[in-house]
Assembly symmetry: C2
């Protein structure tokens, strides 16, 4: 197993006390959407103080010089609307007025160097506790150029996943083994065989399943890879299977190695549950694309004025090195709007440094009908398009479910309307009959 990369540059930066690398003078800038009963400029100054050299009274040693060097700076405050009710509990406005604003704050790279957890603690730490805010959401992070050199980003990204699956010029078509939990190892392998024979590109474990009483991870890996390897030997097409390795570090490393040794081509991690440091450790090995499942994400973003926006969130995980990241889907079964999903896809597809670009994973209630609107709004086929029940419950069987999805995407890119595609393609037509009225 390849040695993990060390924080070489930052050791050089920090050991001597006088930085000697290209990052001198660089800043990290965070953009927040805030709400406050106070003057937003003053509230922003409290934030900057709390997240750098501030404390509640002046203390000896807090000199002007160090303040200049390590103090966070309020770069800009753009006033928005004023509302009458606070978004979340905090300071109470006597006048019943709560001001919203977009605030940009910057920190010198000298404060934390290349340390993602400490960057997160700085940009997303105690500032959510500040009573002066009745709303605070981290919207974006601007990273300095040296981050692009220090961090390698996704080892595979879109191009790497296309190479491994042999899929070009259309979305990767994928599915989740359902039911989420309860199938035996042999039942799972049987479904994988059916799907592989149907020409699917990608299959994943559900995030609820890692090792259950009737589906031990190692056993499932063996059974599934046997099917996939036999199929690959016969056809030349290797299905990418994202095994859910989420767990403790050593358990994950064991599973990761076993996937690689078995000829597997993907590992899945529930990134919020596992956390940043462990996820980066896995990504750093660079042998397998990492499928990043964002379950728990609703907790971090569902309130419009609390938490973190996907635009900022995906940058953190790209730095950590994940290759595929969930973005929900158009007309999904969850709470998220189509606009939000489109913005997430755009964020993922926006180039970051000279890193590989991550593959957006479109899922949740997808059955092919959404291909038309997804393509109309994003104009991209650089997607991993996941359908769960949409494939497995296809009236003509899972194989027809796969074909129907390929047909839907071909039709969407060809500029057909859903109704015309349903007439042209029998398998997709059956999908429309079964799922089209949802």
């Amino acid at each position: 197993m390849e040695q993990i990369r060390q924080n070489r540059d930052f050791e050089a930066l920090s050991s001597g006390g006088s930085p000697s690398f290209g990052g001198v003078g660089e800043v990290i800038t965070a953009t927040y959407y805030i709400e406050t009963p106070y003057d937003p400029e003053k509230a922003a100054a409290v934030l900057a103080g709390e997240q750098s050299s501030g404390t509640f009274v002046a203390v000896p040693g807090e000199t002007e010089e160090l303040k200049q060097r390590f103090a966070a700076r309020v770069v800009s405050v753009e006033l928005l609307e004023t509302v009458n009710e606070p978004a979340i509990p905090g300071a109470v406005s006597k006048e019943g007025k709560y001001h919203r604003a977009i605030v940009k704050v910057s920190w010198s790279i000298e404060n934390f160097g290349y340390n993602l957890p400490v960057m997160v603690s700085t940009l997303q730490g105690n500032l959510y506790e500040i009573t002066q805010f009745t709303g605070l959401k981290l919207m974006d992070i601007d990273l300095p150029v040296s981050f692009g050199k220090h961090y390698n980003g996704p080892a595979f990204g879109i191009d790497g996943c296309r190479k491994l699956t042999g899929v070009h010029d259309r979305p990767l078509i994928g599915t989740i083994i359902k039911p989420s939990i309860g199938l035996s190892v042999q039942q799972t392998a049987g479904i994988v065989k059916t799907l592989a024979e149907a020409g699917i590109d990608f299959i994943k474990d559900d995030e609820l399943l890692s090792s259950s009483a009737n589906s031990n991870f190692d056993d499932r890996l063996d059974a599934v890879m046997k099917v996939i390897n036999i199929h690959a030997d016969k056809t030349g097409k290797k299905v990418m299977f994202a095994f859910n390795i989420s767990g403790e570090i050593d358990e994950m490393l064991h599973r990761y190695e076993k996937i690689a040794e078995s000829g597997g081509t993907c590992a899945m991690i529930s990134i919020n549950s596992v956390g940043l440091s462990a996820a980066k450790k896995i990504c750093d090995h660079g042998l397998l694309p990492i499928h990043a499942h964002r379950n728990g994400w609703g907790m971090l973003t569902r309130h419009p004025l609390l938490g973190i926006d996907f635009k900022a969130y995906q940058k953190l995980w790209r730095l950590a090195g994940v290759d595929q990241l969930h973005v929900n889907g158009i007309q999904n079964k969850f709470w998220e709007s189509d606009d939000s999903v489109v913005n997430s896809i755009t964020s993922c597809l926006t180039k970051m440094f000279d890193h590989n670009t991550i593959l957006p994973v479109v899922s949740s209630g997808q059955w092919g009908g959404q291909a038309f609107e997804t393509y109309r709004r994003t104009r991209t086929v650089d997607l991993l398009y996941m359908a769960g029940g949409g494939i497995m419950a296809h009236p003509m069987g899972p194989a027809a479910g796969v074909v129907a999805l390929q047909q839907a995407w071909k039709a969407a890119v060809d500029g057909l309307r859903l109704q015309d595609a349903a007439k042209l393609y029998p398998e997709f037509g059956k999908s429309v009959e079964k799922f089209g009225n949802k």
Copy 2:
């Protein structure tokens, strides 16, 4: 370095397909505070389906037998008030009515065994995305007895921290090196010397500082431990210093080992930033108490109907094995109410299995004046009581700041009123003059 513990029991559970350990039939039960425009019982059923074997249409293989074995169960639904406005965006009520309820849902241990990240994905995963809810907060987790055997909990806890510091029958008195960031290594060591000579029990890095351009971690560790070791040799009292090791896994392990080798007695981790798997890996070594900083916590709990309550949160981190956990403080400078802080302290001090109990870390704007109310409401001295500016900015210097805090706690336990204590103790009296009007 000690080998990490393996998931022995669960390997036994899962490898054969038929569990053979004491945990057969055990369940994990989660308590949620929910809001929904639908019938709460139906919404709860959606949650249980989504987080176990559910998908949006029935699929082949989803048999009754496996449903019985792996399906999450709605244990109870206790109706609360109905409100006219949704707490967070979700499904819209035609009648403008949103029903609140306490819902209990349980999962068999067979679903995920002893895997904390997968447990988190099950209890706190996609359920936050469910459109049927306009509010959802995880309030508590009931863990089965076998968890108490599989997980060791805090290696040190309250008793271990008392032994290491030699402090009994009163709170450990601590402080945070301030300013948070910007001091040189030698300035930091100088402050540590002053505080050690003043009789302080505990000092910590700020969460914003791990390795900065003018305070390299290793250099700071060396300088600080030199001061602490000399002081310990001279007096027999070793100050516990929580060095912020937060970072990538290998970096954290390197720092952890270096602390232990240097005679240090504590390592600090920003648990939300580092994440569960990496934090557990560190805790598993068991050589140092882990000071768990919960920065970022506001994002997870500040909305009353989104995220996770501290009662559930602290259980996860106790299973991971942290020894000290932040709980904010009475009359803090942040948004949190005193009631919430008291509940958090109580949660930490509640026995969990036969594990060591974690030490609640009281901080934020504390200066000694809050000792009276803190003791009145919690009746405990099993606290790490942290004052930042309250010590460092004491009119008679940091040494008097430490003494003032000890006086305040003695007076509180003796049943004195703040005003009487201020007259009796000159150092505390000066604190009251300076900080008492906040």
